[in-house]
Structure formats: C-alpha cells, structure tokens
Symmetry: C2
Subunit: 395 residues, 2 copies
C-alpha cells in the first residue's frame, strides 16, 4: 500500500550519491589520500568570516528563532531586492519575493504552482540537473530536454524550436550550468527570449522561464553573466545562497517574481500555495535574518578557478578533451569511449570518482566537481595520467 | 495556465494568519496594549541558554554549514534515538530516522510516501490542525475527520468505527492536541490501537498511524503522556523541536519509523523519495548539529501552565465554558452563540483576537493560544469580562 514510485525515488538515489558512498568505503580501506572524490557539489570555499560574525551577533537577538511569515522576513526580502538592484540594475517588489529552503525547494514549489494539467510539459536544456525531472513529475507535468551543441554545451536552437510545443508551460534554464559549467552568452539569451516571445504569441499562453541560479556569481575570465529577467519578462528566478556564501546545508534561497511577469500576483500566490501544500512553513529563521544583513556578501571563488585551470591544463596535456568552463565549479570531460558508466568504473579503480553523464541526460561525458581542496586536485593528476594511458590517449 | 488550486491555497491563507495581520494593523492604530493577540502558536517561552551557547560554539566548526546526507547527520540521528530511549524506553534504529524541516514537512512527506491511489483516505480526529487536509490533498488522498466527545475532546470511538473504512490507509493523531489541548489517555490509546489492529486484519492491509508530536513534552498536572509507538506497531512519529526548544522558525524535526512497523524499510525509503520529490535536500545543517548535542534539552514550560491557569479560572468566573487542557498551549473555549465566526468578530472589537473553531473542523468554539507573555493574559481579563457581559454570561 506504500507508494511504489516514492520507494523507487528514495531507493535509486542518484549515481552521484552512490559514488560518494563508494568513496567513503574506499577511503576507509585504502586510505584518505588514495581516493580523489570529484562527485559532490558541496562548496569547498570557506564560508566568509562575516557570516560567522553576523550569526554570532544574531544569536543575542530576541525571537530570532521564531516563525516568520510564510513569504519570509520583510527585512530579508528588502535586502534581496537591494542586492539584485545593485548587482544587475533590476527592480523587484519585496512583496513578490518568497524566501525558500534553497533553490531546489524553490524549483519544486514554482513547478507545482505553474503546472495544472497532465498534458503540461516542462522543457529544459541538456545537460541538466537530474532533479528537474523529479520536480516536474511531482508537479504532474511531462518533461523533455533540448539538445546542446557538443563543443561548448550551448543551446541547440533548432532542437529548441522542434521541442517547444504548445504544451510547454515552463522552460528551465541553468546558467552557469551544472554539470557543464557553460555560461549562456548574451546573444543566446536574447535569441532564446525572442523564440519564447514568438511562441507565447503563437500559442496564446505565457511560457514561464524558470532560471535556476545557484551558480550566478561563480563566473571566470572577467565575463559578464546576463541577468535573465532583463531579457525576458516572464522569468521567475530561483536562487540559493548555498554556493555564493558556502552554506549549502542551511537551505536558504528565494523565488523572485517580477512585476513584468504575466499574472505576477497569481504566480506569486500560487507559489505560496504550493509551498504550503508541500509542508514548507517558512525558511530557516536565523538564516533569513542573516540574509537581511549579508545578502551582498560573496565567498572567495578563486579556488574554483585555480582548480579548473590546473585540471583543464593537465587533462588536456594527458590527451583528454575537456573544455574550460566559464562558470560554476564543474568540468564536463569527454570520455574516450562511448559508455560513460564503464569509463567511470575504470576511473574508480584508480581512485578517481567521476560522475557519468547519463545522469544529466547526455551520453559520453563525466562530471568532475572542482569544489575540492587544491591538494586533492594536485594529488589526483598521476591517476588521471594513468587513466589516459589506459586508453592510449596522447596529449 | 497557473494552477488555480495553488492560487487558492496561497490566497486563502488561514483565518489564523488573517486575524494576526488584523492585529498588527489594530496595534498600529490603537496602540500595542489595547490588542490581545491569542492567534499564533509561536512559542513564548525563552529559547534555553544552552541552545545559544551550543550554536555559538558550533559556528567555529569546519564545514558546519555544508550539505548533510538527505536522511540527516548521523550523530543527530543517534542523539534522537538516545533521547527517545531515555524518555520513553522505546528503541529506534538510527537508519530509520529521517531529519526533516519540522513536523509539517514530516507530515507532508509521510503522507506522500504512504498514499498511492485516488481512493486512499486519510482519517484524523476533530478538532484538528487544518493543514492535515492540505497535506492529504497534496498526497492525492481523500480526507475525513472523526467526531470527538464535546466535554473533553477525546475520541468518539463509535464514530471512529463508522469512518474507519477499507480505504483508510493513514490515521493522523495529535496529542497533546492543537487546538483543544486534549491529551488522549492511555486507556483511549489502547482502545484505538485495538480497533486499528482489528481493522488491519479485517481489511488485509496495514493502517499506518501518523502521530504529529510537536507538543509531546508540553503536559501539565503531572500526567504521563503515552508514547504511541509502544501501543501500536504501525506507528510513524513526526516530531518537531519547534515548541520543545522554542525554535519554531528553524524548521527542525524528524520522521521516526520503527522496526516494528510493517514494511519499515519501504516506508522509510518512500519517505526519502517523497522528500526528494518535494525539493527537500536536507534539513538545516547547523540545527541538525545542534540536535546532535541538545536533543535532551527542554525549554521552561511553566509559563504555559501559568497562563492556562489564570485564563481558565477567570474565563470560568466570567461565565464562559472552558475546560482546563492537560497539554499544549491552547484553550478551546465554547462560544456562547453557535456561530464562532460571529463571536470572534465581536471579540475582535474588544481587542481580543481568538481563532474561530470551524478552521479546526468543529463548530462553536474559539482557540486561545496561551503562548503569550503573562502580561498579555493579565491585561486581557477586563476585555474578556466585557465580552462575557455582552452575552449576559454569569459565572
């Protein structure tokens, strides 16, 4: 009588988690230094000192641990609007900000708010974070993914036009992208916006663009990341402080609905309703109050760039094909064989834990999370070299 | 194209919230001291000092803010098992504890895990926390409530037998009860267990008893609260530290599945799966680590008893019918007229904010939350006396 689909969802934990658990066993057996765990997206940059200082001082305030309203502490919503205005020159109304338990809950909530029929469809872009499919199914929607250009993991617009049918109510975009690290160019964002606008008109209903933005501030090489709501009115932002402040476990982020959004008040109310239905009472109170004071802060992202540079240089030298991503903290390396699972298994034998790409809707790659200690990166190089030699690769 | 049901759920916020918002406006207009807000269940007992001390010291630990596993930090799960063993003499396996964002998320998750067909039904007891209906609907189940005995809000067992049909998969129990403060006696818990066991056998499927236990430790007059899993094997506990530690906004609690539960491994996996589908990545990390060290602590509950005693004595003296509850921090007072909404509106005019009982599935009562400053209770007495006189009540 138990829900079989839920048992499956709880048992078939992701390949990522499986590899991570394997790594723990291997470390216990073969020693900490013989395992190079590139599986998890748990930030390695230190949580900024100001976070600790602010939390310590907040602990002296009366009532800091009590319920806030469901939409979140007003001063935190105000701070969020100010940060976005200062960083991207875009204006939000604090009464359309909903503070959530991170971006994952924001996505699950927004999808449930926007999906109303079984025929409704959610579209995203390959490669993609696998939970998009899980959250879409939970909201009762079908789920499809658009192909990418294999050289830089940018959007394959002709495939987008094919798959953007009348049933598509929501499009999810994730830039900088997990798992590829790709940052969609301003040109591509404009192109996407144009297509969505045309299709909205053609279909006679809004197509909401849901942007999953936990990596928004992790960009390298001096590039500017386009702030999507500036380019497409029907955008809803799901943000998380997990990576920008290195507080991934604290579950704090927000849904931001702009006044340019069609039926913005209904969209916002439906998000509050969906959060309520799924048992979200409020986001963690202490961390809401932290955001009220620290939403402008950022942790030091240079460790991610350093790790990227060391790995891309050496992996390329060893003969692997591994483009240098412009953002996030992942590399997406081409496997020298078609079967990414087999390649991941071979790498595992050398202590290298790499996530096979079929988890992300794409065949033939592995994801390498660079949010590890620099020491792990440096020590892993001989193992990567050995792995290259296994496949007779030459730099 | 937005989900209309979600808009409704997000717009028709509870009567409780509505009254609370009215109170804020009234306070701004008529002054803080002329409004007696008995609407919200936000704990007024001070968060224990040990919580602040432990949090302060945890802030110095490395990685304290990072992701934990989905089921929760192992040392916290261990501590939870130890506390339950010491308090109630009941043994849990730490691998069947799922740390959640409070009891509300625990309930929403467990219901989604246990419901698999549209015809499935969730049963609870009047008066009840209104979100049970919302979470049941979210899980795709029908929802019914069993009548109570009006003198003490105990279970009406003959109505239970009528309503406990073959479609009932889950029964939700909440003792001490919100809104009535009733604590079900051991005799009644044994009787309930017997009926559920008979019906399970008759129907040929397990009936899971979901116990919502945020008020478990708030009991008065030296009574012992029966720990339900000791009496009925197919019990799943949803607990929250919101009230026991006065940290309601921090969203930390757990689901506990016992090894006596039928298909306990599947139940547990399905809960993990349901949590995953609804975007729960992990419970707030810092507070998980707090629980690892402080799960035995309790805040001072004497303020709730004092407030209860003052109010019950005086309300009775003024002529109201208001039984003295054995637990939680609510009084459930009989209205002198049939229409609780009308009575609540009349009380509102005197600055008394009382929640009408139809919100809780029962007509003709108001809920008075006693988790307020003692000063508010004392200052409210003249207004209650005036209210009694409006209806010509005599003590």
């Amino acid at each position: 009588m138990i829900n079989k689909n839920m048992i499956k969802k709880g048992t078939n934990r992701s390949k990522i988690r499986e590899l991570f658990e394997y790594g723990k066993i291997l470390k216990a057996k073969a020693g900490e230094d013989s395992v190079f765990d590139f599986t998890l997206g748990n930030p390695s940059s230190k949580t900024p000192d100001i976070i600790k200082e602010t939390l310590t001082s907040l602990l002296n305030e009366n009532g800091v641990h009590l319920y806030t309203s469901a939409q979140g502490d007003e001063s935190a919503r105000n701070a969020i609007c100010n940060t976005i205005k200062n960083r991207y020159g875009f204006k939000y109304n604090k009464n359309l900000i909903y503070i959530t338990c991170g971006a994952a809950s924001g996505l699950a909530i927004t999808l449930k708010a926007l999906i109303s029929k079984k025929s409704d469809c959610v579209l995203t872009f390959k490669p993609y974070f696998p939970e998009y499919a899980v959250f879409s199914e939970n909201a009762g929607a079908k789920f499809k993914a658009v192909n990418c250009n294999k050289n830089d993991f940018s959007i394959d617009f002709s495939d987008l036009k094919r798959k953007l049918t009348k049933n598509v109510q929501v499009v999810i975009i994730n830039t900088p992208n997990n798992p590829s690290g790709a940052v969609y160019s301003e040109k591509d964002v404009i192109k996407l916006s144009k297509i969505l606008n045309e299709k909205q008109q053609e279909f006679g209903h809004p197509i909401y663009l849901l942007t999953d933005e936990p990596y928004r501030e992790i960009v390298f090489d001096g590039i500017n990341i386009p702030f999507i709501p500036k380019y497409y009115d029907n955008t809803i932002v799901c943000y998380s402080y997990s990576k920008s402040l290195s507080i991934s476990g604290e579950r704090i982020g927000y849904i931001a609905v702009s006044e340019k959004c069609e039926n913005y008040q209904d969209v916002y109310s439906a998000c509050l309703g969906a959060g309520r239905c799924m048992g979200y009472v409020c986001a963690p109170s202490l961390f809401q109050k932290l955001i009220a004071k620290c939403s402008d802060e950022l942790c030091d992202m240079s460790v991610y760039k350093d790790n990227r540079d060391i790995l891309v240089e050496n992996l390329t030298k060893f003969g692997f094909t591994c483009p240098s991503p412009k953002g996030a903290f992942y590399l997406f390396m081409k496997c020298p064989i078609d079967d990414a699972n087999e390649f991941s298994d071979v790498a595992k034998e050398l202590g290298l834990l790499l996530v096979p790409s079929n988890t992300f809707g794409l065949e033939g790659y592995v994801r390498i999370a660079t949010c590890v200690e620099k020491r792990v990166v440096l020590n892993s190089l001989p193992a990567f070299e050995k792995l290259a030699k296994t496949y007779n690769l030459k730099g």
